[in-house]
Point group: C2
Chain length 423, copies 2
């Protein structure tokens, strides 16, 4: 079979990527491409981009958020306002052949400028909106329809998601654009210019999931369903000791098992007769979700979480216990999961962090620490552009770049060079 | 520059993929790979897999959901219980060289069986859980921590997302795995076995976004914040005519602009003095979000949506109006968006549907209709496996396959061959 023996065999091994980014989507894209084997260098203003101090922070003011989204990258720090730094960064991009960015308003990073120097450049730019306007997950989400259809039955006002789902999707589309374009370049020699608006990621998803089609064909606006699952049977239940589970019965087998374990098989049969319906149809289970939920819940409130778990685990019903972030962090789902391993993160500390959520050829690759701003400036410039020690010292002295050794404590300084975010 | 003149120049042109799937994630992966240029054949039981009748439905019982997630694919229908059909499907996979699937418990689709026939096979399997256990978006989500930290301030109980964000992310990871593995195969000749558990997609994301790190370093469990954005300034506001906007002020410039347009600059300066704080720090803006929100909201309740929109559009503040799905479907965001075009969907009707949410080399590719179950059975078997008309007729007569012409109305029949879903 096909089990490459070394990490050099990862699917994107040999690919070099320059990332000029901030916030969630493009950092996630770069990290993911790195986990697939690419060498990713994040290039930032001295002191870090607008996301370098983003909450949550450690007591020392280090961003746990930033470290989590930039694992395994190299970091180069330069004064983005200095034309000499801009030229060095452009040289690096031309050398690497791939740029992923959500930077806007930086002419020296434009596709036309860079592709004039390297016609097979792969240039993937995440925008807020297709017209270049600014947008972030929280604003894009408002337009999608989801906040007005999510949340407890009967409440009014929008329910925004906490999970920045559009950023995550946009980051994965960005990574996919790069991987696909690398494949095409290696096959045909062609570069690629890809423009990916965060807003379009959200709108495409609303369409792909059928919500826009439903509305166009005259469907009603979706009501809030609480924890019920639209069009099939799902709900949350609480046990006698106050533990909450989510249940999903997507097939007739699941549903019959749920009836059996709650001792409601006969009651449900009688109900089917009396109502003249067939709960073998998932739409029918959805329509009668309140009645069914009442039957099932009365079993759960009379049993402990342990009893409920044992009964559910012995059935085909899909289920999961609700957890808080703190509960999850110490749960076997994380602590016994081969996707997680301990990362000794400088400035923050050792902790369990995830690798890529897939095994490739039977293996997980372990997560690597995130760099500090400028950790790899000297190495990258020497390796990739052949810049010698004297010039590195001169560039550092003049503030064109920052290297790890130019700040012995390697503490970030306040950035004076931040642009508005897109996405 | 590099502008391939024909659709044959799409990044994954020349790649053939067989998809054996149901629900959201793998169908989205296949559709996305198709939009990038791959030829995708969805292989289903006669009558369709467990998702073929999923809500929302048209009045005629056709699934708008299914059509939306399977645009541009070919469809082959066969009796999955028949060894002869299984052998034909295996032949197709070996011919295509790529399988994406969330099928479980079908030995004849196993990696080892198929890779024994084609060592460079790319086999990407989405599971519910890494141990093979079943899970769907709605159950996985319960474990992540998000439902207990999402929603209005002060409510109790979980708030499940309506957007199946984990399915969407898993679908994009699946597509990324395929594109990366195709690149590696073309470079090295190696196939790939990729296993992607939906649960691990969610857990990796919780980790990548810093929530697990925060918890491990002793951070408190997240409180519900309503529409506020954690760690920076964002909130919703309502205008005098009852229109609701989401606002995000991620930078000091955004924040100062928001103060200026609401006429609160002086009030905020006084507040900074009185409290001894600096609203130039986004964490400080977050801590004082209620006070700041009070100041800003009093401007919005005295202005119409039109006035508010004009003032916001003239500023750097990021904003968006909340819309329902029905409002969005007729909004210029959709109707004037080059990503959308009219698809004349057989059995459902003409409607605006999205293409891939990125332009490649300056172009959007238009969405294509979804097939009906078995529409392409005869064509695919003839083209790829060289099966002649007589054998097609015989296979159809014996119920091994279903072709479009074998059912003149091309109406799906009830499936008798459905397995439990994973993801």
């Amino acid at each position: 079979m096909t089990h490459p023996p070394t990490p050099a065999g990862l699917p994107l091994a040999g690919t070099r990527i320059v990332e000029v980014s901030s916030f969630v989507a493009v950092p996630l894209a770069g990290m993911t491409l790195g986990q697939l084997g690419a060498e990713v260098t994040r290039v930032d203003p001295i002191g870090g981009a607008a996301d370098y101090r983003r909450w949550p922070l450690t007591e020392d003011g280090e961003s746990i958020y930033w470290a989590s989204l930039n694992k395994g990258k190299r970091s180069l720090a330069a004064n983005f306002r200095d034309p000499e730094a801009q030229a060095l960064i452009a040289d690096l991009i031309v050398d690497a052949g791939v740029l992923v960015t959500n930077a806007a308003g930086r002419d020296w990073l434009d596709f036309d400028v860079l592709a004039a120097r390297r016609p097979d450049l792969i240039h993937v730019q995440l925008l807020g909106r297709a017209d270049g306007g600014g947008a972030v997950d929280y604003t894009v989400n408002a337009a999608t329809g989801f906040p007005l259809a999510t949340g407890p039955v009967g409440i009014s006002g929008p329910v925004n998601h906490l999970l920045p789902a559009w950023d995550v999707a946009a980051g994965l589309y960005t990574a996919l654009a790069v991987a696909s374009a690398v494949r095409r370049r290696e096959a045909t020699g062609a570069g690629a210019r890809v423009v990916l608006p965060l807003e379009d990621v959200a709108l495409a998803t609303v369409g792909n999931l059928g919500y826009l089609g439903e509305a166009q064909f005259g469907g009603p606006d979706r009501e809030r369903l609480g924890t019920s699952v639209y069009g099939t049977y799902g709900t949350d239940v609480v046990t006698s000791d106050g533990v909450r589970f989510m249940l999903a019965a997507m097939t007739t087998r699941h549903f019959n098992d749920l009836a059996a374990l709650t001792g409601t098989t006969e009651a449900i049969k009688s109900l089917e007769c009396a109502l003249g319906v067939d709960f073998g149809d998932e739409g029918t289970r959805f329509r009668h979700r309140e009645t069914l939920g009442g039957l099932f819940r009365s079993w759960f409130v009379e049993h402990t979480a342990e009893e409920a778990h044992a009964a559910l685990a012995a059935s085909s019903v899909l289920f999961e216990r609700y957890r808080t972030f703190r509960e999850l962090a110490v749960d076997p789902l994380v602590t016994d999961n081969p996707m997680f391993s301990v990362v000794d993160q400088p400035r923050i500390g050792a902790h369990l962090a995830p690798g890529l959520p897939m095994s490739i050829d039977g293996r997980h690759t372990a997560p690597q620490p995130a760099p500090a701003n400028g950790d790899d400036t000297a190495d990258v410039l020497a390796e990739r552009l052949g810049i010698d020690t004297d010039r590195l010292a001169d560039l550092t002295a003049r503030g064109v770049i920052r290297t790890a050794t130019s700040d012995p404590h390697n503490r970030p300084v306040a950035s004076t060079d931040q642009k508005d975010p897109n996405a």
